[in-house]
């Protein structure tokens, strides 16, 4: 087992494309770190640098006590699960899983024992002698996982391993990956652009944008206190509402003619300063005595919840509430909000303007 630490890691591709612009973070031994961000933000590049598939332009990557910048992928004691699974098509499931052990000269009976053990954990014993093309997407995914765990590496690397599965299977595999990682206690780095996967899997969430880390922390903390407008709108579904507002005084901002109480507000904000106000759809609570009045344009029915699209103080908002709370023909809603759940962001930089 080992911890992983990155210090100021940069990657410049040929043609001066700077894909990763100085990233530092540590993952404790046994931790599950999820890298999340929009397409092209450098997540895969970062992961591939940890794997050794991409050279590190500058900075340092450490696995356990070892700086691995110059270490071959095979010698880093890692295993990787690829988006397209990268199973060897001409080998049976058994051979796919045994390949890495064979290359390392593991004795035959030891290989057999470990492959069977891994196959048992993943419930793939019954197709050990099938070729990958005779498997369903979900089964292939399991084999790819099996190939990773059979080697008992120090670090698991996942590059969007679930994105080729259908929605239902994705949820199922997500839970299984989490359980497996807990059970094995192997330090893991997981790349995804799916924020639900990111929230549910990680115990350390790293939000990236444009080759940089926007914010990292425990997922709940990132959710409750997004460090920037980018993180606020990227994490959470439906995304956080952002409205243009004006500072009214300490602890108060206005959106149009609607005044909202704020508890987390930077001290240097002065009345009249333009500001962006972030409100999570589920933080605006529908209440008969709510002081905020929202005009409802239309309602989306999601089953367990409803989404109300409408305007508040001239700004477009989406509100999420449990179904059946409000008659569906309502034209206005009375809302209340906890002052602690009003987020403020700088108009120019998008940085959080809290205390």
């Amino acid at each position: 087992m080992a911890d992983v630490s990155l210090t100021n890691v940069r990657k410049v591709y040929a043609g001066n494309v700077e894909a990763v612009k100085g990233v530092s973070f540590d993952i404790p031994d046994g931790g599950f770190c999820v890298l999340v961000g929009p397409s092209g933000c450098g997540k895969s590049t970062l992961l591939r640098m940890v794997a050794g598939l991409e050279a590190i332009t500058s900075g340092e990557c450490r696995i356990g006590a070892r700086v691995v910048n110059e270490v071959e992928p095979a010698d880093r004691d890692i295993a990787m699960v690829f988006q397209n699974y990268a199973l060897y098509p001409h080998m049976s499931v058994y051979e796919n899983m045994a390949y890495g052990l064979r290359n390392r000269g593991t004795p035959k009976d030891e290989i057999d024992r470990r492959v069977k053990e891994a196959a048992g954990i993943l419930a793939i014993e019954s197709f050990l002698d099938r070729k990958p093309r005779a498997l369903s997407g979900g089964q292939r995914q399991r084999v790819a996982m099996g190939r990773a765990i059979v080697r008992k590496p120090q670090v698991f690397l996942f590059d969007e391993p679930l994105s080729n599965l259908d929605a239902k299977l994705r949820v199922q595999m997500r839970v299984e990956i989490k359980k497996l990682q807990r059970a094995l206690g192997v330090t893991s780095i997981y790349v995804t652009h799916d924020q639900v996967e990111a929230m549910t899997l990680s115990d350390k969430l790293v939000v990236m944008s444009n080759g940089r880390v926007e914010q990292m922390g425990v997922p709940n903390e990132v959710y409750r206190k997004p460090a920037s407008k980018f993180v606020a709108t990227f994490i959470g579904s439906p995304p956080m509402n952002i409205a243009k507002g004006v500072v009214r005084g300490p602890g108060a901002v206005a959106v149009g003619d609607v005044v909202l109480p704020v508890s987390d507000m930077a001290a240097d904000l002065k009345p009249g300063d333009a500001i962006e106000v972030g409100l999570r759809p589920e933080d605006l609570i529908v209440r008969g005595d709510g002081s905020l009045t929202m005009q409802v344009d239309f309602i989306e029915e999601l089953g367990a919840t409803q989404l109300f699209h409408g305007t508040l103080g001239g700004a477009h908002l989406v509100i999420q509430a449990a179904s059946g709370l409000v008659p569906s023909e309502s034209k206005t809603l009375n809302l209340a909000i906890d002052p602690a759940k009003v987020h403020l962001f700088d108009v120019g930089t998008g940085a959080r303007r809290g205390r």
Binding site: F82, A86, Y88, P89, Y99
Partner: protein
């Protein structure tokens, strides 16, 4: 997904196929039929009388020790050409596959030999290996190697093998490169993480995945060595010295047009035709059932 085009009426599809069918008729079926017919005839040396002899020509040809030698020689030549054309091609393709920037010029340069006429290729290598003026011969001489394809039959054989293979390397290269590029990069990376050395990656991952391409090329190269090397041989050695570089296709031409023994020449060409049909059948069988993984 295949898309089916539906034509109204029957005329248009036939009209569209007609040129191709006509070409095959005129340039394949008619000569093939003629060869078959001629292989059953015996002409007297002066060409004054013709006599139907049935399968006698085949009997004479196949029982002729010289012809059997030619078959053995052709086999050796074909295997050698196939190996000499495929091994460098796969090595070049492996190298070209790794070039990321400026890959186009390399590929173009490597493909050019394919566009060179067989006779020109033959002449080119003849010059290079010419015992008195050839550059290669000069250096071989300096190294103390005795080299004279005009006198030594096995030297001549290697000369035509190299000249024939050289042209075919380009063709094989294109297919191997396409084959390599269709192997997902992540497979190689997975093998890298799985601790396979480059050599082991080649033999356990790349080579098996290239096997459909390899098999296809073995057949194509064999057919090439059998049938399309006439120009090279004619320009370089004319089947000599002695008969040491006379392969089956060359003997067909020689016996027919130089020795004027049309019946036996036709019988030989029917034998060649049977070989190409057999090779094609093998190829189709495998393409259908695929040397697949």
């Amino acid at each position: 997904m295949e898309r089916k085009v539906v034509f109204p009426g029957m005329l248009l599809p036939y009209a569209l196929l007609a040129p191709q069918i006509l070409i095959i008729l005129v340039f394949f079926y008619v000569p093939a039929g003629q060869a078959l017919w001629m292989s059953t005839l015996l002409q007297d040396p002066l060409g004054l009388s013709v006599q139907f002899v049935g399968l006698e020509n085949f009997q004479t040809v196949l029982s002729d020790p010289a012809y059997r030698q030619t078959i053995a020689r052709t086999m050796f030549f074909s295997v050698a050409v196939t190996v000499c054309a495929m091994v460098p091609a796969v090595l070049l393709a492996l190298m070209a596959d790794r070039v990321v920037r400026g890959a186009m010029p390399y590929k173009t340069i490597l493909i050019i030999p394919y566009a060179i006429a067989p006779a020109v290729a033959g002449a080119l290598w003849l010059f290079l290996f010419n015992p008195s003026v050839g550059v290669v011969s000069y250096y071989m001489g300096r190294l103390g190697l005795d080299w004279n394809p005009k006198i030594d039959g096995s030297h001549a054989m290697w000369l035509i093998i190299i000249a024939s293979a050289w042209k075919q390397i380009a063709y094989n290269f294109v297919f191997f490169l396409a084959g390599l590029q269709s192997i997902p990069k992540s497979l190689i990376e997975a093998a890298q993480i799985d601790g396979a050395s480059p050599r082991r990656r080649f033999w356990t991952i790349i080579f098996p995945l290239l096997s459909p391409t390899t098999f296809f090329l073995i057949v194509v190269n064999f057919v090439y060595a059998f049938f399309e090397t006439f120009g090279v041989i004619h320009a370089a050695t004319q089947g000599g010295p002695g008969k040491s570089t006379e392969i089956m296709i060359y003997k067909v031409w020689y016996d027919g047009f130089i020795a004027q023994d049309l019946g036996r020449s036709a019988a030989q060409s029917v034998i060649l035709m049977a070989i190409v049909v057999a090779l094609t059948v093998v190829q189709f069988r495998f393409v259908e059932r695929k040397v697949h993984y």
